[in-house]
């Protein structure tokens, strides 16, 4: 009933996701539309916090809060732009015309956003250590990386979902943050509270297990949920 050759060629979900991700990274590399803005935004925000709080150094929960909120807002910039090229340059149609699994788009976009966040943090966290953090960053780094990585997964998954919803609205720059921020609030709480003890003056090396568990739970639930509903955001 169908040509055999076609069927063999149809790429699987992961190969498709790989193709989309590769295209997204290439687009970012060419345009540099998103990442530099996210990094610059984060660093400017640290400076703003320095003046806003009128403190040379901060530590503990205060430091964790400033870091997490800054990263969340910087992530919002990336989230807003995640699907703009697809929407404005026909990427959605092109993808839908291909004989591929639609979930691959979710996987690819969430991975791209995750990578953007990692790059952001590779610059912003050391900058934070340099500009604002009282205690030295070095010994706290492994625990902080663990908490931030889990937080990034939550930001990436929910961010992708929110971005896919918002990009089809008229006021997408507004709808994205007003839906995204409340949805990300539990993740923000968990990251901030998980990082708080780490950044204290006499901080321990490992984050509180409770918050790591909450973050992991949040990641898993929303990953499954996004996977279940994402197809409905694409069809017409």
């Amino acid at each position: 009933m169908r040509e055999g050759s076609r069927e063999e060629q149809t790429p699987g979900t992961w190969r498709t996701a790989g193709a989309v991700l590769r295209k997204d990274l290439l687009l970012e590399l060419r345009g540099l539309d998103t990442l530099p803005a996210m990094v610059l935004f984060a660093i400017v925000t640290f400076v703003i916090f320095h003046f806003g709080l009128n403190q040379a150094t901060i530590a503990g929960q205060e430091a964790a809060g400033v870091l997490t909120v800054t990263l969340l807002f910087a992530a919002m910039l990336g989230i807003n732009r995640l699907f703009v090229a697809e929407r404005e340059q026909g990427g959605f149609d092109a993808f839908l015309l291909a004989p591929v699994d639609r979930s691959a788009l979710l996987i690819a976009k969430a991975t791209a956003l995750f990578l953007f966040l990692v790059v952001l943090e590779v610059v912003a966290v050391p900058a934070f250590g340099l500009l604002l953090l009282g205690p030295s960053l070095g010994p706290r780094l492994p625990g902080l990386i663990a908490v931030l990585a889990l937080g990034d997964v939550a930001f990436a998954v929910i961010g992708t979902l929110v971005s896919a919803i918002a990009v089809q609205t008229r006021a997408r720059d507004l709808i994205g943050p007003i839906i995204g921020l409340p949805l990300l609030l539990p993740a923000l709480i968990a990251v901030a509270r998980g990082a708080g003890p780490l950044l204290a003056a006499q901080g321990s090396g490992s984050p509180p297990g409770k918050w790591v568990a909450i973050l992991a739970l949040y990641d898993v639930v929303f990953a499954l949920l996004s996977y279940a509903v994402f197809d409905f955001l694409l069809e017409d």
Binding site: L161, I165, Q168, T169, R170, A171, R172, L174, I175, I178, I179, P182, L183, L185, P186, I189, A190, R193, K210, I214, L217, Y218, V221, F222, L225, S226, A228, V229, F232, L233, E235, D236
Partner: protein, 241 residues
């Protein structure tokens, strides 16, 4: 579908139950040992909160059915469920702040995890209508709204878990919802009040559905009798039609 059927009986049952509940609150339930008369707010605040939260989750379930069946009437039901839950939620926040002011002296207390999580849930669902309003294609609007309803319905319990754990000290809850340490008379009062408010939610939901379906039938009739052009195109709206 006639949503109006059974509405009168339901409305009367609701009015009766709420009247009984209020009578129990003021003439039957004993004064709370610690809180005194203030505790009477509890009988309205807690049922409102629980009904609102259930309404949000209910909206998510209806949204899921909409996506499964592709039938727009489930989207309308989901919309009305969330719309009603928002109204009940506003009532919850108002009664909650009044209670906070009366018992702690402040209009808002962050130390109460339930009130705080409720605020977050309300902030999230407050974006439901703007989201709908900002999508012009009605089909896409209902599909996206259902996705939103499902995701946010699942968010409700998770959010409560996270906020609850975030409170450094969770004060022992005199007023646990299971009523574990609530005297029997108080528990009965709460139960009746709970049933009354839940009935009110169902009544208003059906009422709104009946109104919507009537209006849509009038439009359909007009189209049938006078032709396609006789119906003015609907204004852009957050409500499904």
């Amino acid at each position: 579908m006639m949503y109006g059927r059974g509405l009168r009986g339901l409305a009367l049952a609701t009015a009766f139950t709420i009247t009984v509940a209020f009578a129990l609150v003021f003439f039957y339930a004993p004064l709370d040992a610690n809180q005194g008369f203030i505790q009477k707010i509890f009988y309205i605040h807690v049922p409102l909160a629980i009904t609102a939260l259930c309404g949000f989750v209910f909206g998510g379930v209806l949204g899921a059915i909409h996506l499964r069946t592709g039938d727009r009437k489930w989207d309308i039901r989901s919309y009305v469920a969330i719309h009603m839950a928002l109204i009940f939620g506003v009532g919850t926040l108002f009664t909650g702040t009044i209670w906070a002011k009366a018992s702690w002296g402040h209009w808002w207390v962050w130390s109460d995890p339930t009130l705080t999580s409720f605020l977050i849930v309300m902030l999230l669902f407050a974006t439901y209508q703007p989201l709908r309003f900002s999508i012009e294609d009605p089909e896409r609007q209902s599909r996206y709204a259902s996705v939103f309803a499902i995701v946010c319905g699942a968010f409700v319990p998770l959010n409560f878990l996270a906020v609850r754990l975030a409170q450094a000290y969770v004060h022992p809850r005199v007023l646990t919802l299971t009523g574990g340490n609530l005297p029997g008379s108080m528990r009965l009062t709460l139960l009746v009040s709970m049933v009354g408010i839940a009935l009110l939610y169902v009544t208003l939901w059906k009422y709104e559905m009946a109104a919507k379906s009537t209006r849509m039938q009038v439009r359909a009739l007009r189209r049938l009798l006078l032709g396609e052009d006789s119906v003015a195109p609907p204004k852009r709206s957050a409500a499904p039609s």
